[in-house]
């Protein structure tokens, strides 16, 4: 049903022609790669955006029915500092990322430490469509139809032991593939690898997914190909991209933005209109596509699913 809705949208309605042409151009270069991608089922080159289709997709009970942010906006407005500090650079530069072959190392406090091949992950876990709101700490937001696998099922499969209190995630480090890692910006740039973390009960919350695509297709490089975290009740920077390592640990990981500016970014980073950020008031947000702002919802509107994770915690201290 959800997939049918996408068919109603003609690519020309979503994507402006010049950009569409540019993407085709870009994909021509990557065509060999795209064809080489052995997707679990039906790896036809999708006509809509040119990327390989992902199927079958199970719809999710968490889907929002809000208007989707156009594919073009989702793929040209990215905070992905590995490809530059402005929002246009990732779309322009991310074709240097090679999302295949790709492995994800799972280690730490688990019974089954293992280097996972991305293909095996895609084969082993059912793909779901999850239409989520995404709220950036910079006070803008989108509605994105992700394709992903349940993080809880993945964690179950690797069997963490009782010492595993937290899950730490790491992004690829490779200056050749990620030009934004070449300069340290006079020492003011982010530290690589980009690191994020969740408490284990956050990570196993049904909302958390490992995203592998959007709009029914393989994840575009600039959105964190081939596999990324999506935790929709937290600010976007928690949803780490292009993951190469998932470690189960006892100590709370120190995430990258926390190192950068501890006063501004915390470990939890739950969307919270009551806790202001030194740079941006968090009470409101601009949905991409709108001119004016709207009210921001507690936990980005996912309170029913996640509020109990934080009962008794002072969220202004644990921001």
């Amino acid at each position: 049903m959800l997939i049918k809705r996408q068919d109603d949208i003609k690519p020309s309605e979503i994507t402006n022609p010049s950009l569409y042409a540019r993407r085709r151009e870009f994909l021509k270069g990557g065509a060999a790669l795209a064809l080489g991608v052995a997707l679990p089922v039906g790896s036809a080159l999708g006509p809509a955006y040119g990327a390989a289709k992902l199927s079958p997709l199970t719809p999710s009970r968490f889907n929002t029915d809000e208007e989707l942010t156009p594919y073009e906006a989702i793929t040209t407005h990215n905070n992905f500092y590995e490809f530059g500090t402005d929002k246009e650079s990732p779309a322009k530069l991310a074709d240097s990322l090679r999302p295949r072959p790709w492995t994800v190392l799972v280690d730490g406090e688990v019974k089954r430490p293992r280097e996972w091949d991305i293909e095996d992950i895609l084969k082993q876990f059912p793909l779901e469509e999850r239409i989520y709101r995404l709220r950036c700490v910079e006070a803008w937001s989108m509605v994105i139809p992700w394709v992903g696998i349940s993080l809880a099922s993945f964690i179950k499969a690797v069997e963490p032991n009782s010492n595993a209190k937290y899950v730490a995630f790491e992004t690829l480090v490779d200056q050749e593939q990620m030009p934004g890692q070449r300069s340290n910006l006079f020492g003011f740039g982010l530290n690589w690898p980009y690191i994020e973390g969740l408490r284990i009960d956050e990570a196993t919350n049904p909302l958390a997914i490992l995203g592998v695509g959007l709009y029914g297709e393989v994840m575009p490089n600039q959105n964190g190909a081939p596999i990324r975290l999506v935790v929709p009740w937290k600010y976007g920077f928690k949803s780490i991209k292009s993951i190469v390592r998932i470690s189960f640990v006892e100590q709370q990981p120190v995430n990258t933005w926390q190192v950068q500016a501890p006063r501004e970014y915390g470990f939890y980073a739950n969307v919270n209109p009551q806790v202001d950020h030194p740079r941006w008031s968090q009470g409101q947000e601009r949905r991409i596509g709108d001119w004016l702002k709207r009210e921001t919802l507690m936990f980005n509107g996912y309170g029913d699913q996640v509020a109990q994770l934080y009962s008794g915690m002072d969220l202004s201290k644990n921001f």
């Binding site: 402006n16 407005h77 910006l185 003011f188 500016a261 008031s281």
Partner: protein, 215 residues
């Protein structure tokens, strides 16, 4: 050609350059308007407008502050006739910048705006820059120059450096990790200000020595 003729020649071509420069100065806004009309301001048009108007405020401020050093270096005194227009373009862009903020970021929520100014130092210092440009724009007319008298007018208009300083600090404070661009602007401002300071100290010293000599 003697000196007087040369100066007269400069004056005529500076005069002719003025309308050309005026049109050139309108290009950034024209480009934004065209992009808005075509719907190609990017995924977040408000961000695009804020950044573009902020960048051009700072650029016009620095270009304006470069006129006098350029005049000294080239000896073309009539260049000063272009300065007012450039300064007013800086003011024009900061007005747009502020307007975008008031309308699209805060939608005339004056209480929120006040909170924002008091709570966020980059907004506070941006506001300080904007406020210090206001008296300069008001006193930019020939009439006001006459009313204030050259000396007082010149002293007041040193505020342009203060506004430039506020602008670069505003930029420095709003950046999250990539300081390259604000640092470039800071260096340019420092060079422009440094030139003026060094030159005026030299001149004062020269004046002192000549007055001693005449005694």
């Amino acid at each position: 050609m003697d000196k007087r003729n040369k100066a007269a020649l400069h004056m005529t071509w500076v005069k002719r350059a003025k309308p050309v420069l005026f049109v050139l100065c309108l290009l950034p806004v024209a480009q934004l308007a065209y992009a808005a009309y075509r719907g190609s301001l990017g995924a977040d048009p408000v961000e695009t407008l804020t950044y573009a108007t902020g960048d051009w405020t700072l650029r016009f401020l620095l270009i304006t502050l470069a006129v006098t050093p350029l005049r000294y270096l080239t000896g073309i005194r009539s260049l000063v006739q272009l300065r007012r227009m450039l300064g007013l373009f800086a003011f024009f862009h900061v007005c747009l910048h502020f307007l975008v903020y008031v309308v699209f970021d805060q939608f005339f929520g004056w209480r929120l705006i006040l909170e924002d100014i008091l709570e966020r130092r980059y907004i506070m210092v941006g506001m300080l820059g904007f406020m210090s440009l206001l008296p300069l724009a008001i006193t930019s007319t020939d009439k006001m120059l006459k009313r204030l008298g050259g000396k007082r007018w010149r002293r007041l208009h040193r505020l342009a450096y203060f506004a430039g300083g506020c602008g670069v600090i505003h930029y420095l404070w709003l950046v999250k990790s990539d300081y390259r661009e604000p640092l470039i602007y800071i260096v340019i401002l420092a060079v422009l200000l440094g030139y003026r300071v060094v030159r005026s100290t030299k001149e004062r010293r020269k004046l002192q020595t000549t007055s001693i000599n005449t005694i």
